[in-house]
């Protein structure tokens, strides 16, 4: 058997998404072909998506071999724990007063999940780059632009083994200066610059 694992996974991905879309679409009125309701186009599109999912799935059995990258046991474990912790942390954090607004719960819980993911070397680059961006989102309102940039750059810098502390500090200073000039001085966007705890 020459199974194309990439196509197989793509097919399943498409099928799951299409099925989810069709299921969510049951809330919308279909209408008729003459007077299409809000559910008509989604029905067509997700129906088509489902068909393509099936075709891709079928092709997968003949177009290989093209295997996915090997996942280590640690990759599986960290991914499972990261998703679980994020899902548990979100409702808990959303119940804390002060965190229910501004998407704090979403940002903090997914950042925690990403840090757990970073334990495994296979996910480290992905997790740290994205965690850096998440932290920017979490810190921006209360911490101000400069603190948010600094935190993001420091976290994301860990994604590259070659970074040295002095280089990172240089990066932070340069980017803060550049962003102040472009976004605050020239474009004048509405954002806190300094912390307002």
């Amino acid at each position: 058997m020459k199974i194309n694992a990439k196509d197989l996974a793509s097919g399943i991905f498409l099928l799951v998404l299409a099925a989810l879309g069709l299921w969510l679409n049951t809330d919308h009125t279909l209408g008729s072909a003459r007077r299409m309701g809000p559910g008509y186009m989604p029905m067509l599109v997700f129906g088509l998506e489902f068909c393509f999912g099936l075709i891709v799935l079928g092709i997968a059995f003949f177009s290989g071999p093209d295997s996915l990258e090997k996942w280590t046991k640690l990759d599986f474990v960290t991914l499972a724990i990261a998703i679980a912790v994020t899902l548990v942390a979100y409702p808990l954090l959303a119940a804390v007063p002060g965190l229910e607004s501004n998407w704090y719960a979403l940002g903090i819980s997914s950042t925690i999940g990403l840090f757990i993911l970073a334990v495994s070397p296979g996910w480290r680059v992905l997790a740290l780059v994205l965690a850096g961006m998440n932290i920017f989102g979490v810190l921006l309102d209360a911490g101000g632009l400069f603190l948010a940039i600094a935190a993001m750059v420091v976290v994301a810098a860990f994604a590259d083994k070659d970074h040295r502390p002095l280089g990172v500090v240089g990066c932070v200073v340069f980017l803060i200066a550049l962003c102040w000039w472009v976004f605050i001085y020239e474009l004048d966007i509405r954002v806190n610059i300094w912390p307002t705890f």
């Binding site: 969510l24 809000p38 186009m41 092709i59 992905l126 994205l130 940039i149 994301a156 966007i189």
Partner: protein, 503 residues
Amino acid sequence: MELLLSNLAHGFGVAMSFDNLLFALLGALIGTAIGVLPGIGPVATISLLLPITFGQPATTAIIMLAGIYYGAQYGGSTTAILLNLPGEVSSVVTTLEGYKMARNGRAGAALTIAAVGSFFAGSVATLLVAASGPLLTQVALSFGPADYFSLMLLGLIISAVLAQGSVVKSIAMVTLGVALGLVGTDVQTGQQRFTFGVPELSDGLNFAAMAMGVFGIAEIILNLEKPEVRSVLTAKVGSLMLTREEWKRATPSVLRGTIIGSALGILPGGGASLASFGSYMMERKMSKGRHEFGNGAIEGVAGPEAANNAAAQTSFIPLLTLGIPSNAVMALMVGALIIQGIQPGPRMVESQPDLFWGLICSMWIGNLMLLVINLPMIGMWVKLLQVPYKYMYPAILTFCAIGVYSINNNVFDVYSTVFFGILGYVFNKLKMEPAPLLVGFVLGPMMEEHLRRAMLLSRGDPYIFIDFANRPISATLLVICALTLGLMLSPALRKKKEAAMAE
């Protein structure tokens, strides 16, 4: 003809204003820089800079973004010739002959013909846009909703067929893009669709967040995962002058490249990388120096470089006349226009003459600037190649984060970018091409609108789309759709495409 001249004069008036000149230069500079640097392309850069353009007038914004796209075509050749690394996808084929020329001590000549060829092709293609724009607009004004729908369908299908990799998967990606475009408020009934009660989603998924995530952020992660290969510059640039013999050989190639590039640029789904590839194939078969291919034939640089720049200009034609983006970069342009409150379409030539003619004239001015930026200042761009990626990616990340936040002053958009970053990473690992997704996302809502209107007019009878007697345009377009799909299913042609893409 006289009208064309007076329109062009008007356009030059717009393009020569201080602000527009400044931003054309800025776009050309940024474009060259990202063209020179491998690992960051025009799609990521334009999505990164989308939010920054909101504060500017629409004309200035589009002039700058266009400059980035064609500027990247100039810059890409520099890296290809000097380092044997494609700075852009569209200069992959330039590495084949260009680097060989550099090793033969003719790097300077290769750089010169790349820039001069690009300039010539760009000038011709710009004229073509100016001449064909108003003509095509006349045709487009007679389009009914059914014709529009069929045209968009054709655009989607061709953009999927011409994308790299499996055709079925690319079409599935287009469909996925259309599906993502459904999120938000239904225009006709006001009902919320797929918003999960999130108020931020009622206007639909954020276009900039999606483009930045799928292209910008995912690209950073993928670049960091593979170890950096940056060979040291070994070849000397040498004299920039071409010998008489080289001019003689390169001129017909530039002409052929201009023609094939202009044609492939107009095609929906076409664009710079397809054009340079097509031209390379043609030169290898047709040029006088074809026996020298593989040993540094100047035709292999002149043709593709002219072609990719010609295509970068002419791919604006479907956008400016029909409002239909032919590739991912043009999809971003539509996004930029819509955010500015301009609906791209056939009425743009009349309702936005400043934008239409100003953009065309600034393209020519921009090409002239690029000639100067690239040739005498080549040393500066070579230095840029020495900046390691570890200092570049924090900057890209920071610009993404602030840029996407500043669109709505809402951190939700920052988290959506993260989400789309993960999605883009998964797409890459599964070999699902993300560019058709973006085109589908932009065209999806327009297609729904036209489908509804067409069906309302026909009282629910789908025959309206294939009615040759009353709606010949729509029927013809659908026949082309069917033919395109049929051709791709034939095994012989598929093999040919696979072989072509593999080289």
